[in-house]
Structures are given as C-alpha cells and as structure tokens.
Symmetry: C2
Subunit: 474 residues, 2 copies
C-alpha cells in the first residue's frame, strides 16, 4: 500500500492560494480557542475578525434583517403562522405563503437553475434597476457568488495557455479558481494614486504582456465596487471597458456583489454593466454576479446569490444548465434569501418601517466607520489609505521599515504578512496582507473590514500597534 | 467581436452528462407548465417525478421531520422562543439555544470545514455507529454529498490518464465529475443475477482493462447501499474490497448516503467501511460520504452532508481545507440539518414520540412501496426487477421489442431512453433510462424512485403503459 501523500495528488491544486482564510485566519482561530481556556495568557482579551466580509459573525454581530428571517422561519415551519397568531406581520405571512405555494417544501431540490418564481423576481429587480428588460431564463441562482465565478472560469479555460484578466489588487477567489482550473491570471494594475481607478491603458498593458507570454485572453474580470479597494467605476470608464471587450473579443465577468454598499451614493453612484452594455447596444457576452452575503443583507451563511447571462446564446446557456445540474440545486435557504433581497418590504406595508430603520442603520454605520478609520489611518506616519466610496473594506498602504523587511525575509514571510501577523499577535485583530490580493512590487498593504463595532477602541489598537511596530524596527 | 459559441469553451465540459436532470426531466418540466394552462390537452393530469430521490418535492410531499424544522425555524429567528411561548417543545428550544451559543447567527460564514461543534456531534454519531473513535478534525461538512465527491475526484485526478473505478450501473455524478476534471472512468460491473452484487473479480477485470488502456487507477468508488440498484454489501465482500484497495494502492470512496434507507434491516443490515477498515486495521485511505438529502430526513433543499477522512495525513487534510476554504463554507441551513440528523430526539425527551412516529412512517411506506412495486413489475412480461433491500429506487430490466429498438435508433435515441420518453409522454411519469447509469451492452433498464404516494394507481399506470408499448412494437 503506497501512502496518500501530496505528491500523488493533483499538483495544480497545490497552487491554489486563498489568503482570506489562510495562515492568519487559522492562527486567529487558535487564539480564539486559547482565550476560552483561562490558563493561556495573551496580550488581548478577544480576537477581532477583520479578515473577511462576514457582517453577522460573533463579535461583529450585525443584526440580520428581521423581514428576511421572519420569512425564512415561516418557510422552515409553515404551521407557525397559525400556531403563533399575531407574531408575524401580515405581509410576512403573505410572502411566506406565496413562496410556499410556488416552491412547496424548502426541503426539496428545486430546479437546478433556481426556483422559476424567484428567478422572475430577480429579473424584475434587474429591470427596475437598469431600465432594460431581464429574462428569468438567463438568471442562475447560486450558492453565493463564488460558486458562479468558479463555474464560469472552468468553462472559459480551454487549455493551460488560456488566461483571464484580473485586477491587481484582486479578490483572491479569481486566482484560486484559475489555479484550480489550470488557467493563467493576466494581471492589470489599478491606480492607487487615483483612488484605485481602473484604466483601459493598464488593461491594454496586461494584454500586451499576455501576447508576449503566449497567453490567450478569454475574459476580463471587473470588481465594481472594488474588493479590496472599494473603488467605484465611472460611467465613462465602464463604456470604455465594454468597447475594449468588443475589440479583444473578451467575455466580461462583472463582480457586482457590493452594489448596495455605497457610502457616498450621491457623489459615487453604482451603475451596472448590464445597463451600460444595453445602452451601448454592445454585443459583448457579459456575466454579472450578485450575492446576499454583502449589501445590508449580510447573509453569508445562507450561501445565496445569482448571475445573469447577457448576450449569451441558448446553446451556451444549456451547457451552463447541464453543469449546474450535476450539483442538483443551490441551497433553498439562499434562494429565499435572494427573494427577500430583491423584494424587500415596500412603503405602506407593515414590515416597511422596521426594514427601513434596520437598513438605514447598517448603511450609516458602515459609512461613518469607513470615514473615521480612513481618516485615522491616514494620520499615521507611513500609512496612506484611499477612503473607499463602496464595499466593506479599507486597503491602507503601509511603509515597512527595512529592518522589518529583512526580518520578514529571514522568516520566509512576505513583509506585509509579517506585519499582519505581528498585528494579530499583539492586538488579536486579524486582517489579510496585501500580498494575498496582489500589489505593485515593493509596496505593502493590508485589507481590513469596516464592520467592527466599537470603532474608536478598534482604531486605537491599530494606531498603537503601528507606532510600536515602526519604533521597534526603526 | 467573435461570438461566444460552444467551440470556444472548455471542450471537456461538453462531455459531462447527468441523466437524472437530463432530457426527460426537462421535458417533464415543460409538461408541468403545459398542465397549468388549461388550453393544452395531455393524456395525463399530473407529472410524477420518479427520476430523482427528492422526497419532499411537490406531488410526493414526504413531510419533513418536525423536530428538524422547529430547530431550523428557531435558528432563523431566535426571538421566536419568547414571542411564541409554548409553541416549541422545550427540547427544541434548548437545542436551538445550544446551537446559537455555539454558532452565533446562521447568517455568518462558519469555519470552512463546518461549525466545530457540529463536527464534534458528527464524530460522536460515527463512533456510536461503528464502535471506533472519529476525530472532528477529519470531518468536513459539505453542501450535500455531491460537492464532496466532486472535490475528491478533482484532487485524485493528476493527469488525463488517471482513472477511478466506477460501478456499472452507477450514480452519474461520478462520470460527470470525472468528465469535468479530465479523468477516466474505469467501469466494473455489478451482477444483476445475484441481486446487483459487487465482486472482487469484476473489479480485477476493470483493473486489467485499465492497464491495457494505459489508465492509471487512483481510487475505487463503492455506493452502499447502491444507487440505482439498492443493493447492500455483505461484511465479507467489504473486507475483500478493503484488501483489494491495499493491494492496488487505491483510495476508497465510500458513498454511504443511503445508510439509513434499509427495507429489511434484519436480513440486510448496513455496515460502514470505516468500521471494516478499523476492524481489519487496514491502512487504506478512505473517504466516506453521508448526506441529509436521503434517509428519513429527505432534506435535499438544505444542501447538507459531510465526509470523513480515514487514514489520511494532516498535510493532505490541509490541502482539502484550503480547497474548501475558497468556497468559504457549506450552507448553515445544511449544517444545522446535519446536526439534527446525527442528534435526533432521544427516548424520554418531549420531541421523541413525534419523531419516532414520523420516521417509522417514512421507513414503513418506503419498504412497502418497494416491495409492492417490485412484485408488480416482476409480474409483467419482459420485465425483471431485483427487489432492493435499501436506498430509494428500483432498477427494473426491460425487454424492448426489436421494432422499438429500430425506431429508437432511427430517432437517434438509446432504446431505453425511447421507452422512458414514451412512458413520460403517455403517463406523465418521469424516470431515468438505464443508459444514464450504464449497463451491460444490449440490456435495458430504467430507474424509478419508490417515493410516490398512491402507489396502486402509480403502478397501474406503469403496467398499462408497458403492455401497450409491448403490443404496439410487437
């Protein structure tokens, strides 16, 4: 019997990297366990998970939207509406009944593409948002956006020379999925000096490099609002990017999961790529991703989302259907979560006032924390930070003293991972080093979420640590 | 702009076939839509989905276990326990509180491997079942068994010459996942004349053929209880299979999702491969899959399950962790469903009596339907059917008149697909042709579930159709 060792397994998979749940997150879990056993002494009394956009996790405790959870509870046990009369608002009872009539039990597999009725509601949400029609047959409900992105990358990678244009910095799902499916990442750089803006010139540079490397570009990934940057594209840039996809025959993969996380919406509104493609009457194939994990919903644990196919033929759509059918269907709890996201209570309905109050509170907290954290980080020596107009994160640039860089290299760590590990060891704050997202050679960043309550205390810890670290390695 | 056509996409994916949700299932959905609009006349008044083990779907309506759904409803909206006092039994309230204390909000991402507390409960379930310890660190919660199977196949396929031994007939997830990950299926044949038994000799024959074809065998898939066959392995056969894996350095992938669907448990009990491997003190790497979609739970829509790694090193386990972490976590509704499956109410607890009644009813209905359907099918001319001791299906062998075979070939269909399509067109009963699972050359079968209520009426339709079809093509 030959033992099962790494070298007898698929080597390509060993290239997969996913820093958001990597070394630091694993260490943070160990610290959390240690804190439970009183015998261990650590320099902090709690672990703060700023590494991942997970609003409802313990310690952050962003409350779920009551409407969403009431509908879900009734879907789990429909008899409740009669057993607990008056406990659920009448619009919730009506909504749950409507879903039950359409779906039946949420314990059954649905259509592999998602419940037809919910896809109809998603299509209406999209057409109301954009002013252009959407077809429920082009909507695929998914277990979060990640599952859809991975599927599309699998479809687009025809051979090991195929590549996909990925922003740097990027959300590492993209490089992980490319590694898993034997494809190449073609990097293009966002411009930090202009608020992490995207330019056609930088993508053209990426394409030129790909040609030199013998890489065949298949698609362009755009994350808007950006992750980890929080940047928002302008309508003009979006039009230029659509033209670029036309010119180079690229499929556009538009990751729009943060479309409802806008901190200064008047100044920086969100426009969908679907709308721009339709306005320009462009023929480019577009796949747009959305999710219930972000926005004000923050329902990460349900695993719900969708993607919409635009300018994609029925035969290609049939292939997508066949592939998703092997996994049977997305979780029904995620599907009904999507329904609540695209059909929130309307003005005049019994649940509206509470829904409005809850969502306003979440928006306001995120905006004010983002602003405060950016201002305080920018005031630190050796730190500069674009104040994100969208998404859930900040991505400060940090200067790391050369002695610390040397110590990092000696320890076999990237210097920003060395910094982030020291931050975790000292304060219990878990972040993700910029090297996990990609950055320009010789620059260092880290990503942290703006989800933490008690932001004054939290920023205070970041400040004290940074000053201490800088002094230690001066 | 070059349009996005099938030929510019990953060709390998076009080989993926998944008959359970294939041509027949799609046609059945169209019929269902047609029946809603009164203008269409069809020779039946309802579509019966016998193509998939989906107990809670509309028309089958196997009721969910009340305990499971009560715990889930409280997890969705914890305030309910106080808002509706007395509605939930006290053990349900206590269970939901215990889960909340451990997990926090089910709207948060959990540990990528699954909630540690739930993995502990799974480990206890396994050790109680087998009499050997299980380690929570070796348990991975999943979105149904399918997600885990696909991941393991991806890991094991090192290059396009790598193959995995697959029973024929098989559940088509295996060949679909192999096609997706560029691997080869190495077929071995189950013996219908001996109740679909598995033999070492047939696997040895598969291995010999693989050597001739230049295929490098990596793993052996065993489905026990069988799908589509419902067969159960004996302890002796299991021991032989473990020895065979030792000899040939094969990873054993044990699909045990039907372990709780036993119709004659005294005569045909279930033994897990984990238990046999431990009893034999065998070093073979084993991955065992279980699910909440089958059994008496039937919670397909939650997407919950787990796999356990046995005799697998920490470094390989770390690779598994890294890969699952890219998808963030399995759905929490599935995870708490797993918890309810492995920790049902105990005798003496308030929810026990109802739980016992509900599960006994489901077991009894499945056993009696399986027996009745097998007897009636066996009485038909040209039909023979092994009476399954386990799982949810029958897989009758059918003789197809040669004129029908010719007509099928002329229509570009497999003869059993031709038969199953005619059955659907005539009766509204949707099944899966045997060709979707694999069968011996020149033999024909179809798979149907034993989940349909109104079994007399249902079998009557099957009988009348079969006689009509046989007469038509005589």
């Amino acid at each position: 019997m030959r033992p099962l060792t790494l070298d007898v397994l698929n080597q390509q998979l060993q290239e997969v990297q996913y820093a958001v749940r990597g070394e630091l997150a694993i260490k943070a879990e160990l610290y959390r366990e240690q804190l439970k056993s009183a015998s261990q002494s650590l320099p902090f009394d709690k672990v703060i998970s700023s590494n991942i956009g997970n609003p409802q996790q313990k310690g952050l405790d962003q409350p779920p939207i009551t409407f969403t959870r009431q509908v879900a509870a009734l879907s789990e046990w429909p008899a409740l509406a009669n057993l607990a009369p008056g406990v659920f608002p009448p619009d919730v009872v009506a909504r749950a009944k409507e879903l039950y009539d359409e779906i039946g039990s949420i314990g059954a597999y649905s259509h592999s593409q998602g419940v037809p009725f919910i896809r109809k509601n998603v299509a209406k949400f999209i057409s109301d948002r954009d002013g252009f029609p959407a077809d429920p047959d082009n909507i695929f409900l998914t277990a979060g956006a990640s599952a859809g992105v991975s599927l599309l990358i699998n479809m687009l990678i025809t051979d090991p020379s195929a590549g996909i244009l990925i922003p740097i910095p990027q959300y590492p799902l993209y490089t992980a999925a490319l590694a898993q499916h034997h494809g190449r990442a073609i990097p293009y750089y966002l411009d930090e000096s202009r608020g992490w803006s995207t330019s056609v010139a930088s993508i053209e540079a990426g394409l030129a490099q790909a040609r030199k490397d013998g890489t065949s570009p298949k698609a362009l990934v755009i994350i808007n609002p950006g992750n980890p940057t929080g940047a928002l594209l302008t309508r003009d840039t979006m039009a230029d990017l659509v033209k670029l996809c036309e010119e180079h025959s690229l499929v556009l993969l538009a990751d729009e999961v943060y479309q409802n996380n806008l901190h200064r919406a008047a100044e920086h509104p969100f426009t969908s790529f679907k709308k721009v493609v339709r306005e320009l009457q462009s023929p480019i194939p577009l796949v747009s991703f959305h999710s219930i994990s972000k926005g004000v919903s923050g329902e990460c644990g349900r695993r719900g989302g969708y993607f919409e196919l635009t300018n994609i033929s029925a035969e290609v759509r049939a292939l997508v259907y066949k592939l998703v059918s092997v996994g049977l269907c997305p979780p029904l709890s995620g599907q009904i979560g999507v329904d609540s996201m695209v059909r929130p209570p309307k003005e005049g309905e019994p649940s509206y006032a509470l829904w409005k109050k809850e969502t306003d509170t979440i928006h306001a907290a995120l905006a004010s924390r983002t602003q405060l954290m950016a201002a305080r980080l920018n005031a630190l020596p050796g730190v500069s930070c674009v104040e994100s107009p969208g998404a859930l994160y900040l991505f400060p640039k940090i200067e790391i003293p050369s002695k610390a860089v040397e110590a990092a290299v000696a320890a076999g760590k990237e210097p920003d991972a060395f910094y982030a590990l020291a931050l975790l060891d000292d304060t219990g704050i878990c972040t993700v080093p910029g090297s996990g997202f990609g950055q320009k050679e010789g620059e260092w960043h880290y990503r942290l979420t703006c989800l933490c309550p008690g932001v004054e205390d939290y920023v205070g810890k970041l400040e004290r640590f940074h000053l201490k670290f800088t002094e230690k390695w001066a």
